[in-house]
């Protein structure tokens, strides 16, 4: 009796192992920094990374035949991790910039982001970047908002690890304003209806988010660009948009 049970167990184990090895697709390791709602965030219940970028990558993975695994890390670790091979793709709401494009390849833009300025509700003097001269600007470290703020004359930049911390500092009067992606500001204000903050709508020139890959991975880049085009054409992209915005 015992013996048959053991044999059955071994058999079933072997079966499941073959099943998984047949079904196993190659893995694509995707790095992100999950504090950028709604593009990526950590689900409080499951502890998994969720968001627009996650769904987008999964849709791409389905098309190009990869299993997508997300790795949540610090923003600053993303590009170095990509370059040294710890991850294969960055999907982190990363703006396509000239500087970055020197070290990585970007996919076709998959999202058009717009920067905004967030100020306290009672502030009526700040209307654009030109009003931020000599002011304290809260930003998220090494984001486009940070880089834009650096161009503003006399601005004092307070760099925080996450976007909510930057906005919190505007709310508590420790900074005059924050330069931040519009969708992030909208989500923050939706989740914190009592925050004494408002955003000034689309302010900056258009910014485009791209997926970042290693320079040498040109085949993968082509596949991903093709998949992106397909998703846009077949309506999947719109579904994901509707889900997160």
């Amino acid at each position: 009796m015992k013996k048959t049970a053991f044999v059955l167990l071994v058999l079933s184990l072997m079966l499941t192992m073959t099943a998984t090895s047949i079904a196993a697709k190659p893995v694509l390791k995707v790095g992100t920094e999950a504090t950028f709602v709604p593009f990526e965030t950590v689900d409080e219940k499951t502890n998994e990374v969720i968001g627009f970028d996650v769904d987008l990558m999964k849709a791409i993975g389905d098309i190009i035949g990869y299993e997508i695994q997300f790795y949540n890390m610090g923003w600053d670790g993303l590009i170095p991790s990509l370059l040294n091979g710890n991850i294969d793709v960055i999907a982190a709401g990363m703006t396509i910039t000239e500087d970055r494009a020197k070290v990585v390849n970007f996919s076709d833009p998959y999202f058009e982001s717009v920067l905004t300025i967030v100020v306290r509700k009672d502030n009526n003097t700040i209307k654009g970047f030109e009003d931020l001269e000599n002011k304290t600007i809260a930003v998220q470290l090494n984001t486009t908002g940070d880089f834009v703020a650096e161009e503003i004359a006399g601005a004092r930049i307070a760099r925080y690890n996450t976007a909510p911390e930057a906005l919190q500092n505007v709310a508590m009067n420790a900074a005059h304003a924050s330069i931040i992606d519009l969708p992030v500001a909208e989500t923050y204000l939706a989740k914190n209806p009592n925050a004494p903050l408002k955003h000034l709508g689309a302010i900056a020139m258009n910014e485009f988010f791209g997926l970042a890959l290693r320079k040498q991975d040109t085949d993968l880049l082509k596949q991903i660009n093709a998949a992106l085009a397909q998703i846009r054409a077949d309506g999947t992209y719109q579904q994901i948009m509707d889900k997160w915005f």
Binding site: R100, L141, R159, E165, N173, A174
Partner: protein
């Protein structure tokens, strides 16, 4: 990975600004930490009700992460006092309070390591408890705690990088900013490591110098 010396060299001036802030914050915090720690250690050795305040303080500071303490002070107090605390001030307060708790334990064990005969000799001469502490026990205890205080100084120097969460650009944060622009973490952190090493070795040297100077009369 190829190491680019030029990249490393270029990051030096910017990183030095951060190192200077690191030195400032740590030195100020150690200064206040020693004052606070001494007072706390003395309170802990009395029988007054303040003793329990001192115990609560050291337990809290040693039992919670410095990062959390920095957050509590920077984000927790402004709603109470109706105005923001400058990050620099919040950092000095958090680091000093934190360091004070560790220094208190160091000084307390330093005081307890002084032979009871010293206290007895002083009391038998008619010195008060306070005079005994001030003229006899503390001067000897301070000598003995210089090495562990040096270790605390070094630990705080390294821990002070946590103040970057409130946007203070100390050495590590400066490095992160550089890396966000040059995408060369290895070179940049290499320079950071050298700078920390110079600072910590200097502290060790200072400690052994003080030890040698105070050796007379031991």
């Amino acid at each position: 990975m190829d190491f680019d010396w030029q990249v490393a060299w270029n990051s030096v001036p910017f990183l030095l600004q951060g190192a200077w802030l690191t030195i400032q914050l740590t030195t100020i915090a150690v200064f206040f930490g020693i004052i606070l720690g001494t007072i706390t250690a003395l309170l802990r050795l009395t029988k007054s009700p303040f003793k329990y305040l001192a115990i609560a303080y050291t337990d809290f500071m040693r039992g919670t992460p410095l990062l959390v303490q920095i957050f509590i002070i920077y984000y927790g107090f402004p709603p109470l006092i109706q105005r923001p605390i400058p990050a620099y001030i919040a950092a000095v307060i958090a680091l000093s309070l934190n360091s004070g708790a560790y220094v208190a334990e160091i000084i307390r064990s330093g005081i307890q390591s002084i032979e009871i005969g010293q206290t007895e000799a002083a009391l038998s001469l008619g010195l008060t408890y306070r005079q005994t502490m001030r003229h006899i026990i503390l001067p000897q205890a301070f000598k003995r705690v210089i090495p562990p205080l040096g270790n605390e100084f070094i630990a705080l120097l390294k821990d002070s990088s946590l103040v970057s969460v409130i946007a203070l650009e100390e050495l590590v944060r400066k490095a992160q900013i550089v890396i966000g622009r040059n995408f060369r973490p290895f070179e940049t952190y290499f320079v950071v490591a050298i700078m920390f090493l110079i600072m910590t070795v200097s502290i060790s040297q200072l400690v052994s110098y003080l030890e040698r100077r105070l050796k007379v009369g031991e």
